[in-house]
Amino acid sequence: METLLMGAVAYDAKVVTIWDGFKQWFSANGLAFDYVLYSNYERQVEALLDGHVHVAWNSPLAWARAHRMAEARGIEVAAVAMRDTDCDLTSVVVVNAASGIEDLAGLAGRRVAVGAVDSPQATLIPLSYLRSEGLEPGQDFDLVHHQVGVGKHGDHIGGERDAARALVAGTVDAACMIDSNHLLFSAEGTLPPGSTRIIAQTPPYDHCNFTAAATAPAALLEHFRSLLLGMSYDDPEVRPLLDLEGLKAWRDGRVTGYAQLEAAVDESGFYDQEGHVAAVDYRP
């Protein structure tokens, strides 16, 4: 029997628990499924394009690279499914409430904390947004990276938390993070409640998707997609898996929410048009 093979990046030990659980559940529901773990998204995308895996659980940045590589090779990749929580995220630029910085113009000449160099939500997208508002990173303001889990495309929350801590410590004047992490850091006390102000919010963008290669067996892939979309939070067997992976329901994949990231990749030269890694300071 043919097995659908999926790649995932091991950004945390729980990844094993998650995909072992999915593997068992898929198997109980008639889908032969297995997974391969990669230590970083670059290797995973290359493996997908080389046909080592049929589908990859990709970060948005990994998607950006995968479709560039696919186009360069004249093949196709498709976004099969995503989480409800992958849709319409925003990133925010946060300052200390007492800093006197009221708007983006106030960032001129200041130090701005971002996440790891490959974090879409804490680095690439917010910096692109600042650029669109007339602030060139490294030129109009100083950039302070928090390189945690490089190669894991910001999946590790550590870089964003370190940026938030730097803001509290006063070693930076502003920090970039995903909207839900601002809520989390405030609620958990990393950011003392009421001590920060949000001075900018990006337009909404999308996050991860299951990226399928054209070589993936169509029937298996469709079975995979329909099983995912049929997973119900009502089902006590499924609920722990959804909780671990951080969603209430799977949705059909869409690629309409990646324009900001694509622009950010182009502006910063992170990947070239063929999907080669071009960022000089990036060591996954």
């Binding site: 925003t90 909207d179 405030s186 609620a187 102000r197 722990p240």
Partner: protein, 395 residues
């Protein structure tokens, strides 16, 4: 379609506990009803969108300034966690599902939980209606070894009599260790749904720990080393520890063993040559009476539900007897020590009295066992035969 329900967070942020108000509003919304969120916290709109995304709700953000931040359309996962949840009481279940795990009896248990290793989960196998009252008595009757015994009372005995006391105490401690280990082995296997049964056994284990302590302290009071421990005595106790069936183990330990010990402890209290020995035996006796009462109540309940257990219990006595046939049973040192203790001296006439009293004790023990077996539904003749097969080690 109902009009929107309105939730006003005032100045409270979602990072400051405001999510409680949203949770409550969403869970109370009628099907299809929208929740209008108002508030003045500066980051409310950013947080509201993020919160709704993570909770699986749709949200429409309000445009421009104003008191309304947005409208939540509760998602299909709202309340889903409690679909299929079960009430685990308050009345006793005939069989407590292992998926109820450690939940308080009567709690609502989310579906999909892991199975817990509580194999003793049949009401018929573990429960007795006497358990709640016995637990209340047990909890009320706890005593403190430090203050319940006057450890400074004069204990100045003839050397040979003191040696006999030390030997008897050494034997008692060994048996108390067994009486502690047997219920402890079953404690973690009984489903917590039957909490009063678990509680009785837990207190019983604590009782035995105190018995071990006070008998040890009495043995050491005279400054002598502890006495002898024999292969035969320990072999007899091992058969108790190895019994895998809860009802059989409880029967052998509490009905037969501790039942026999009631007579022994009362004998020791009566003939104790010093006040400390009398007192520690008195305290242990009161606890043991409760252990026996619980054993009788449990076995009576189990036998009522399953009369087929009666021959199995009888077979267990035979089996234990056969297993111990090659061992000495009660060691001679303990028997002799009981004689000396009851005699109070080594004078021939006194020893004669002591010997007669120990003989009377074993008749009393036998009568007690027969009485309890008859009470559990055995024919008097069978009860007599079974009693005679009971271990010569008493416990």
């Amino acid at each position: 379609m109902s009009p929107p329900s309105i939730t006003d967070l005032d100045e409270l942020g979602l990072d400051q506990g405001g999510h409680l108000l949203l949770h409550r509003a969403v869970s109370r919304a009628a099907p299809g009803q929208v929740v209008e969120v108002r508030g003045r916290a500066p980051q409310l709109r950013v947080h509201l969108a993020a919160w709704c995304r993570s909770e699986g709700h749709e949200v429409e953000m309000a445009e421009g300034p104003g008191p309304v931040a947005g409208w939540i359309r509760p998602g299909p996962a709202t309340g889903a966690r409690w679909h299929g949840a079960e009430r685990s009481g308050p009345e006793l279940a005939e069989r407590a599902p292992t998926r109820w795990g450690l939940a308080a009896r009567g709690a609502t248990v989310e579906a999909g939980g892991v199975e817990f290793p509580f194999p003793l989960n049949d009401r018929a196998a573990v429960w007795t209606d006497a358990a709640p009252a016995i637990y209340r008595q047990a909890a009320a009757a706890q005593w403190d070894p430090a203050t319940a015994v006057d450890w400074n009372a004069p204990v100045e005995l003839d050397d040979d009599v003191e040696a006999a006391i030390v030997q008897v105490m050494t034997y008692l401690v060994e048996n108390e260790n067994a009486a502690l280990a047997v219920p402890a082995r079953f404690l973690g296997r009984i489903h917590p749904h039957f909490r009063e049964v678990v509680a009785v056994l837990a207190v019983q284990v604590a009782d035995e720990a105190r018995h071990v302590e006070v008998f040890t302290r009495r043995a050491e009071l005279g400054g002598r080393p502890l006495g002898l421990s024999t292969v035969g005595g320990q072999a007899s106790l091992l058969t108790l520890l190895e019994e895998p069936d809860f009802a059989v183990a409880h029967f052998l330990l509490s009905v037969l063993g501790e039942g026999t010990f009631l007579h022994l402890l009362s004998f020791l209290e009566r003939h104790a040559p010093d006040p400390v020995t009398a007192r520690v035996c008195h305290l242990a006796l009161a606890d043991e009476a409760r252990h026996v009462a619980f054993g009788m109540a449990h076995l009576a309940a189990v036998l009522e539900a399953d009369p087929g257990l009666r021959p199995r219990l009888a077979a267990a006595i035979h089996q234990r007897h056969d297993a111990l046939a090659q061992t000495a049973g009660l060691n001679r040192e303990v028997f002799d020590a009981l004689v000396v203790l009851a005699a109070g001296s080594w004078a021939p006439a006194a020893l004669g009295d002591g010997f007669r009293r120990v003989q009377e004790l074993s008749v009393e023990m036998d009568e007690g066992r027969r009485r309890r077996l008859v009470k559990l539904g055995y024919h008097p003749e069978e009860a007599a035969a079974l009693s005679s097969l009971h271990t010569r080690n008493f416990m």
